[in-house]
Protein backbone atom coordinates (compact mmCIF):
# COMPACT_ATOMS: atom_id res chain seq x y z
CA UNK A 1 0.00 0.00 0.00
CA UNK A 2 1.16 3.50 -0.79
CA UNK A 3 0.87 6.44 1.59
CA UNK A 4 1.33 10.08 0.66
CA UNK A 5 1.98 13.44 2.30
CA UNK A 6 0.42 13.64 5.80
CA UNK A 7 -0.39 9.93 5.82
CA UNK A 8 3.19 9.00 4.99
CA UNK A 9 4.38 11.25 7.83
CA UNK A 10 1.87 9.75 10.28
CA UNK A 11 2.85 6.20 9.36
CA UNK A 12 6.55 6.92 9.09
CA UNK A 13 6.70 5.10 5.75
CA UNK A 14 5.40 5.67 2.24
CA UNK A 15 5.18 2.07 1.16
CA UNK A 16 4.05 -0.90 3.19
CA UNK A 17 3.13 -4.48 2.40
CA UNK A 18 -0.05 -5.85 3.94
CA UNK A 19 -0.93 -9.50 3.38
CA UNK A 20 -4.63 -10.01 2.87
CA UNK A 21 -6.50 -12.88 1.22
CA UNK A 22 -7.70 -12.35 -2.37
CA UNK A 23 -11.18 -10.86 -2.46
CA UNK A 24 -10.56 -8.74 0.61
CA UNK A 25 -12.14 -5.32 0.31
CA UNK A 26 -10.07 -2.16 0.36
CA UNK A 27 -11.87 -1.27 3.60
CA UNK A 28 -10.61 -4.50 5.23
CA UNK A 29 -7.09 -3.87 3.96
CA UNK A 30 -7.11 -0.38 5.49
CA UNK A 31 -8.30 -1.94 8.75
CA UNK A 32 -5.45 -4.48 8.61
CA UNK A 33 -2.98 -1.67 8.03
CA UNK A 34 -4.28 0.33 10.99
CA UNK A 35 -4.07 -2.78 13.17
CA UNK A 36 -0.31 -2.84 12.64
CA UNK A 37 -0.37 -0.16 15.33
CA UNK A 38 2.09 2.65 15.95
CA UNK A 39 1.83 5.40 13.36
CA UNK A 40 -0.44 3.25 11.20
CA UNK A 41 -3.13 3.40 13.88
CA UNK A 42 -3.21 7.18 13.38
CA UNK A 43 -4.43 6.80 9.79
CA UNK A 44 -8.13 7.47 9.24
CA UNK A 45 -10.59 4.59 9.20
CA UNK A 46 -12.12 5.76 5.93
CA UNK A 47 -9.47 7.49 3.85
CA UNK A 48 -9.88 8.39 0.20
CA UNK A 49 -8.27 5.56 -1.72
CA UNK A 50 -7.00 4.91 -5.21
CA UNK A 51 -6.97 1.41 -6.63
CA UNK A 52 -4.51 0.95 -9.49
CA UNK A 53 -4.20 4.73 -9.75
CA UNK A 54 -7.92 5.49 -9.96
CA UNK A 55 -10.13 6.83 -7.19
CA UNK A 56 -12.16 3.99 -5.78
CA UNK A 57 -14.72 3.32 -3.09
CA UNK A 58 -13.69 1.32 -0.03
CA UNK A 59 -15.90 -1.66 -0.89
CA UNK A 60 -13.84 -2.57 -3.97
CA UNK A 61 -12.38 -6.09 -3.91
CA UNK A 62 -8.60 -6.44 -4.06
CA UNK A 63 -6.78 -8.80 -6.38
CA UNK A 64 -3.23 -10.07 -6.54
CA UNK A 65 -0.83 -7.29 -7.50
CA UNK A 66 -3.30 -4.44 -7.04
CA UNK A 67 -1.81 -1.08 -6.10
CA UNK A 68 -3.77 0.45 -3.23
CA UNK A 69 -2.99 4.02 -2.17
CA UNK A 70 -4.29 6.05 0.77
CA UNK A 71 -4.71 9.68 -0.23
CA UNK A 72 -5.17 12.68 2.04
CA UNK A 73 -7.53 15.39 0.76
CA UNK A 74 -5.82 16.84 -2.32
CA UNK A 75 -4.26 20.29 -2.58
CA UNK A 76 -2.75 20.81 -6.02
CA UNK A 77 -2.37 24.09 -7.84
Amino acid sequence: MLLFALYRDLAGDGEVLVDVPPGTTARAAVRALREKGGGFARLPEEPVIALNQEYSDLEADLHDGDELALLPPVAGG
Binding site: F4, D9, D57, A60, L71, A75, G76
Partner: protein, 147 residues
Protein backbone atom coordinates in the same frame (compact mmCIF):
# COMPACT_ATOMS: atom_id res chain seq x y z
CA UNK B 1 -2.52 19.73 -29.51
CA UNK B 2 -3.11 18.67 -25.91
CA UNK B 3 -0.20 18.15 -23.55
CA UNK B 4 0.13 17.68 -19.81
CA UNK B 5 3.08 16.93 -17.59
CA UNK B 6 4.55 16.99 -14.10
CA UNK B 7 8.08 18.19 -13.58
CA UNK B 8 10.56 18.84 -10.80
CA UNK B 9 12.29 21.47 -12.98
CA UNK B 10 11.31 25.16 -12.91
CA UNK B 11 8.34 25.89 -15.19
CA UNK B 12 8.85 28.34 -18.04
CA UNK B 13 5.53 29.92 -19.08
CA UNK B 14 7.17 31.58 -22.09
CA UNK B 15 8.14 28.26 -23.59
CA UNK B 16 4.58 27.02 -23.11
CA UNK B 17 3.14 30.16 -24.70
CA UNK B 18 5.44 29.62 -27.68
CA UNK B 19 3.83 26.24 -28.31
CA UNK B 20 0.29 27.62 -28.48
CA UNK B 21 -1.85 28.71 -31.36
CA UNK B 22 -2.32 28.81 -35.11
CA UNK B 23 -3.20 31.70 -37.43
CA UNK B 24 -6.87 30.82 -36.82
CA UNK B 25 -6.57 31.54 -33.08
CA UNK B 26 -7.45 34.98 -31.79
CA UNK B 27 -6.88 34.09 -28.14
CA UNK B 28 -3.83 32.79 -26.29
CA UNK B 29 -4.41 32.38 -22.58
CA UNK B 30 -1.65 31.74 -20.07
CA UNK B 31 -2.18 31.22 -16.34
CA UNK B 32 0.62 30.70 -13.85
CA UNK B 33 0.06 29.87 -10.18
CA UNK B 34 2.84 30.88 -7.82
CA UNK B 35 3.91 30.24 -4.23
CA UNK B 36 2.73 33.05 -1.93
CA UNK B 37 4.75 34.41 0.98
CA UNK B 38 1.79 34.44 3.37
CA UNK B 39 -1.12 32.11 4.03
CA UNK B 40 -3.85 32.79 6.59
CA UNK B 41 -1.70 35.44 8.21
CA UNK B 42 1.33 33.20 8.52
CA UNK B 43 4.68 33.97 6.93
CA UNK B 44 5.59 31.23 4.46
CA UNK B 45 9.19 30.54 3.53
CA UNK B 46 8.71 27.83 0.93
CA UNK B 47 6.48 25.03 -0.26
CA UNK B 48 6.90 21.38 -0.99
CA UNK B 49 4.60 19.70 -3.52
CA UNK B 50 4.25 15.97 -3.06
CA UNK B 51 2.55 13.96 -5.81
CA UNK B 52 1.31 10.45 -6.46
CA UNK B 53 3.31 10.74 -9.65
CA UNK B 54 1.89 8.04 -11.89
CA UNK B 55 -1.70 8.74 -10.90
CA UNK B 56 -1.24 12.52 -11.05
CA UNK B 57 0.07 12.26 -14.61
CA UNK B 58 -2.95 10.20 -15.56
CA UNK B 59 -5.46 12.51 -13.86
CA UNK B 60 -3.83 15.63 -15.29
CA UNK B 61 -4.14 14.13 -18.77
CA UNK B 62 -7.81 13.30 -18.13
CA UNK B 63 -8.44 16.89 -17.04
CA UNK B 64 -6.70 18.31 -20.12
CA UNK B 65 -8.55 15.95 -22.48
CA UNK B 66 -11.83 16.71 -20.77
CA UNK B 67 -11.37 20.48 -21.22
CA UNK B 68 -10.29 20.07 -24.83
CA UNK B 69 -13.37 17.94 -25.49
CA UNK B 70 -15.73 20.37 -23.85
CA UNK B 71 -14.62 23.66 -25.44
CA UNK B 72 -13.47 24.27 -29.01
CA UNK B 73 -9.85 24.98 -28.20
CA UNK B 74 -6.95 24.46 -30.59
CA UNK B 75 -4.21 23.82 -28.05
CA UNK B 76 -4.17 23.14 -24.35
CA UNK B 77 -1.05 22.62 -22.24
CA UNK B 78 -1.02 22.11 -18.49
CA UNK B 79 2.05 21.55 -16.36
CA UNK B 80 2.43 21.08 -12.59
CA UNK B 81 5.64 21.36 -10.66
CA UNK B 82 6.55 19.02 -7.80
CA UNK B 83 9.26 19.04 -5.16
CA UNK B 84 10.62 22.01 -3.19
CA UNK B 85 9.64 25.49 -4.41
CA UNK B 86 10.75 28.91 -3.21
CA UNK B 87 8.43 31.90 -2.74
CA UNK B 88 7.38 33.33 -6.10
CA UNK B 89 8.20 30.21 -8.05
CA UNK B 90 5.59 28.91 -10.46
CA UNK B 91 3.77 25.77 -9.33
CA UNK B 92 1.31 25.36 -12.20
CA UNK B 93 0.90 26.65 -15.75
CA UNK B 94 -2.16 26.40 -17.99
CA UNK B 95 -1.95 27.56 -21.59
CA UNK B 96 -4.87 27.61 -24.02
CA UNK B 97 -5.17 28.67 -27.66
CA UNK B 98 -8.63 29.14 -29.14
CA UNK B 99 -10.30 31.09 -31.91
CA UNK B 100 -12.05 33.32 -29.34
CA UNK B 101 -11.37 34.41 -25.77
CA UNK B 102 -14.46 33.01 -24.06
CA UNK B 103 -13.58 29.37 -24.67
CA UNK B 104 -9.95 30.01 -23.74
CA UNK B 105 -10.93 31.55 -20.39
CA UNK B 106 -13.52 28.89 -19.66
CA UNK B 107 -11.29 25.96 -20.56
CA UNK B 108 -8.40 27.41 -18.54
CA UNK B 109 -10.62 28.03 -15.54
CA UNK B 110 -12.04 24.51 -15.75
CA UNK B 111 -8.55 23.00 -15.80
CA UNK B 112 -7.53 24.92 -12.66
CA UNK B 113 -10.72 24.03 -10.78
CA UNK B 114 -10.33 20.35 -11.67
CA UNK B 115 -6.70 20.41 -10.53
CA UNK B 116 -7.82 21.81 -7.18
CA UNK B 117 -10.58 19.28 -6.81
CA UNK B 118 -8.97 16.01 -7.86
CA UNK B 119 -5.28 16.05 -8.80
CA UNK B 120 -3.45 13.82 -6.27
CA UNK B 121 -0.92 16.42 -5.16
CA UNK B 122 -0.32 17.80 -1.65
CA UNK B 123 1.27 20.97 -0.33
CA UNK B 124 3.50 21.30 2.70
CA UNK B 125 4.23 24.87 3.77
CA UNK B 126 7.52 25.72 5.41
CA UNK B 127 7.68 28.38 8.13
CA UNK B 128 10.51 29.75 10.23
CA UNK B 129 9.27 27.42 13.00
CA UNK B 130 8.50 24.20 11.12
CA UNK B 131 6.26 22.84 8.38
CA UNK B 132 2.62 21.82 7.93
CA UNK B 133 0.58 19.94 5.33
CA UNK B 134 -2.22 22.15 4.06
CA UNK B 135 -5.84 21.07 4.34
CA UNK B 136 -7.10 19.81 1.03
CA UNK B 137 -10.29 18.81 -0.69
CA UNK B 138 -11.96 15.44 -0.74
CA UNK B 139 -11.86 14.40 -4.40
CA UNK B 140 -15.01 12.99 -6.02
CA UNK B 141 -14.89 9.25 -5.43
CA UNK B 142 -17.14 6.76 -7.24
CA UNK B 143 -20.09 5.45 -5.26
CA UNK B 144 -19.89 1.87 -4.08
CA UNK B 145 -21.37 -0.52 -6.63
CA UNK B 146 -20.47 -3.68 -4.72
CA UNK B 147 -22.63 -5.62 -2.32
Amino acid sequence: MVDSFLTTAPLDPGSILDRLGTPADGALLLFAGTVRDTNEGRRVEGMRYDAYGAMAERVLREIADSAAGRWPVTDLVVAHRTGELRIGEISVVVGVAAPHRNEAFEAGRFVMEEIKSRLPIWKQEHYAEGSAWLDGRIPPVPEATHE
